[in-house]
């Protein structure tokens, strides 16, 4: 994959494999290109070069909905929520459930159903909301993050991408998210996890990929490395592509 923004090469010939039942952590300093790379996978950006194969098929996404239709769900770093809408509306945004009348001529939003389902999805995270009918702008950062996570998890993803999913959560909620990641992995859902919290990464990741200034500088099994070594890759002190 290659993605340029004008003269800047944000993603520079990075290759990445993810297999069912595995968590791949994507690491790197700020500006390393992590978010850009996953946005190429989720259909937000069009890669300038590169190919995506999903379940063995070559796929091309012109819009994010194409990726979602394939079963690729993404939790974005900026959450991508509509703060003026309530929890249910956000979890079902773009995929609203409707009641049909007159043979589908008139379709009415089924808000009650969407609210019930949203509650179920949130219960999975064991995060309880005082009020599901408030616009989410009245929620805390952590609660909103939970909504974004619940939205991705609700739709039975075939690939789950999480861009710093725990960064505004409290410690108990962070633990819940890590548990959820393990649970989904055990169900066979492949996960790409971007995180800066290395203990979290080592707690759940099977494989680690480190980017530095848009390039992939290493890829290691979690069992074969440690925090100290990974940090050196992240800051550019180590680089597997460099001829020693």
């Amino acid at each position: 994959m290659v993605k340029r923004f004008g003269g800047l090469v944000a993603v520079d010939e990075v290759s990445l494999d993810v297999y069912p039942g595995e968590v791949v952590a994507l690491l790197g300093d700020n500006g390393a290109g992590k978010s850009t790379l996953i946005k190429c996978i989720s259909g937000v950006h069009h890669a300038d070069k590169g190919e995506i194969y999903f379940e063995g098929r070559r796929i091309r996404f012109s819009r994010p909905i194409d990726a979602r239709r394939e079963g690729i769900e993404t939790i974005y770093q900026d959450l991508a929520l509509a703060n003026n809408l309530d929890v249910g509306a956000n979890i079902f945004l773009g995929r609203e459930v409707k009641k049909r009348y007159l043979g589908g001529l008139i379709q009415v939003l089924d808000d009650a159903h969407m609210r019930r389902e949203s509650e179920k999805a949130l219960n999975l995270l064991e995060i309880h909301f005082p009020n599901l009918t408030q616009p989410i702008e009245s929620l805390s950062g952590g609660q909103r993050q939970a909504v974004a996570i619940a939205r991705a998890v609700y739709w039975d993803a075939k690939l789950l991408i999480m861009d710093e999913p725990t960064n505004s959560l409290g410690v108990p909620e962070q633990r819940k998210v890590l548990e959820l990641i393990r649970k989904l992995r055990d169900q066979g859902v492949p996960i790409i996890l971007i995180s800066h919290t290395l203990p979290d990464v080592f707690a759940v990741a099977d494989r680690l990929v480190v980017l530095h200034r848009g390039r992939k500088v290493t890829e290691k099994q979690a069992a074969d490395t440690d925090t100290h070594e990974i940090v050196q890759y992240m800051v550019g002190a180590l680089d597997d592509t460099r001829v020693q």
Binding site: S42, V44, R63, P64, I65, R68, R69, T74, Y76, D78, L79, A80, L81, A82, N83, N84, L85, A89, L93, G94, R95, E96, K98, Q107, V108, L109, E137, S138
Partner: protein, 354 residues
């Protein structure tokens, strides 16, 4: 919802104020709260409301449509030309009127399509596109009407634009009549009230549809989502471009209906009917609590906003206040409405809306 309670309360106090003030000024001879007056107010807000309805959707979607005034004018001219041509070609009057409606809505929709495509696909700011379009449409409307009123419509058109559902004559020799205008003259005619004129009914129907669409359908939900965060809407898979185009088509189409109704009302097409209403319609939308930042607002709010403006204008006229004061008062109310809205956000401590 708080803001809507405010708006209702404000409207209510305005009515109370005018009832009392007009009683005092007229020494108890003039009453503000009459059937006739209420119907006059409804007739007056019809075009403002129709222009404001489409605008409500557009602004909730974080856009703006400055072209609706001249689109209404163009639609008035188009519908007059269509009715005249259809009637002269031998079509029965009802068919000719339907042709007029079709011409008005189609003409409006076409302008809306033009606006929407340039805004959504070419990413030109809505303010600029619709400003430019309003000049273009103005030129076309004046060309088509040859800078004069389009007349020569069949006489029967008048009753479509002015007849009412109910006629009420109180007192001696009076009665209540439905659908059919009673043939009366003199004192009886003077005592006759027209309740729910057809243009008001048609507008009410459009309002009801708009409330339903905004509150209960996926289209309405997506309108809020796009206004709240276009990026979020895009990433969840909403077809944002198509939606924005539809918003401008809707806005111009309701302006088209407004133009059609004005043609029926005056039995003539006019290229200068709509422009003075543009700012009133935006004022109604803003007084009604629609956020210019997008993402917030309701159709009912716009209805209340239009009612507030109409009550103000009618009340001031009945108080014999010089007409120029209307502008000063309406302008002050617009600014106050936004100030109240903002201070509420400050008090509630909501995050700044973008």
């Amino acid at each position: 919802m708080l803001s809507q309670v405010w708006a209702w309360a404000f409207l209510g106090s305005l009515v109370v104020f005018f009832v009392i003030a007009i009683q005092i000024v007229s020494d108890g001879t003039v009453n503000f709260l009459t059937i006739r007056n209420s119907q006059n107010i409804l007739v007056a807000i019809t075009p403002i409301l129709l222009l404001g309805l489409g605008q409500t959707f557009v602004i909730i979607g974080a856009g703006i449509d400055l072209s609706v005034g001249w689109v209404m004018s163009l639609a008035s001219v188009l519908s007059a030309l269509a009715i005249r041509a259809a009637f002269n070609a031998g079509l029965p009057l009802p068919a000719a009127v339907v042709a007029g409606l079709a011409a008005a809505v189609a003409g409006g929709a076409l302008v809306g399509l033009f606006n929407g495509v340039i805004i959504a696909k070419l990413k030109v700011p809505a303010f600029i596109v619709t400003l430019g379009t309003s000049f273009i449409v103005r030129g076309i409307a004046l060309l088509l009407s040859q800078n004069t009123t389009v007349i020569g419509l069949p006489r029967g058109v008048r009753s479509y634009g002015n007849d009412a559902l109910i006629y009420l004559i109180r007192g001696e020799g009076g009665g209540i009549y439905f659908f059919e205008r009673p043939e009366v003259t003199g004192a009886l005619l003077r005592r006759m009230d027209r309740i729910l004129p057809y243009p008001v009914l048609m507008t009410a129907l459009v309002v009801a549809i708009a409330i339903f669409v905004l509150r209960k359908t996926q289209f309405g939900r997506h309108t809020y989502a796009i206004g709240g965060s276009q990026e979020a809407a895009l990433r969840t898979g909403i077809r944002v471009d198509r939606h924005i185009i539809l918003l401008y088509v809707m806005s111009a189409s309701t302006a088209g209906i407004a133009g059609f109704l004005s043609t029926l009302r005056f039995t003539a097409g006019s290229a200068v009917i709509g422009d003075p209403l543009l700012l009133s319609s935006i004022a109604a939308v803003i007084i009604g609590g629609v956020s210019l930042y997008g993402g917030a607002g309701t159709v009912i709010g716009t209805v209340i906003g239009a009612l507030i403006i109409a009550v103000l204008v009618t009340g001031l006229v009945m108080l014999n206040v010089q007409a120029f004061w209307q502008f000063i008062v309406v302008g002050t109310v617009v600014i106050l409405a936004v100030l109240i809205d903002q201070s509420r956000d400050l008090i509630v401590g909501r995050a700044k809306r973008r």
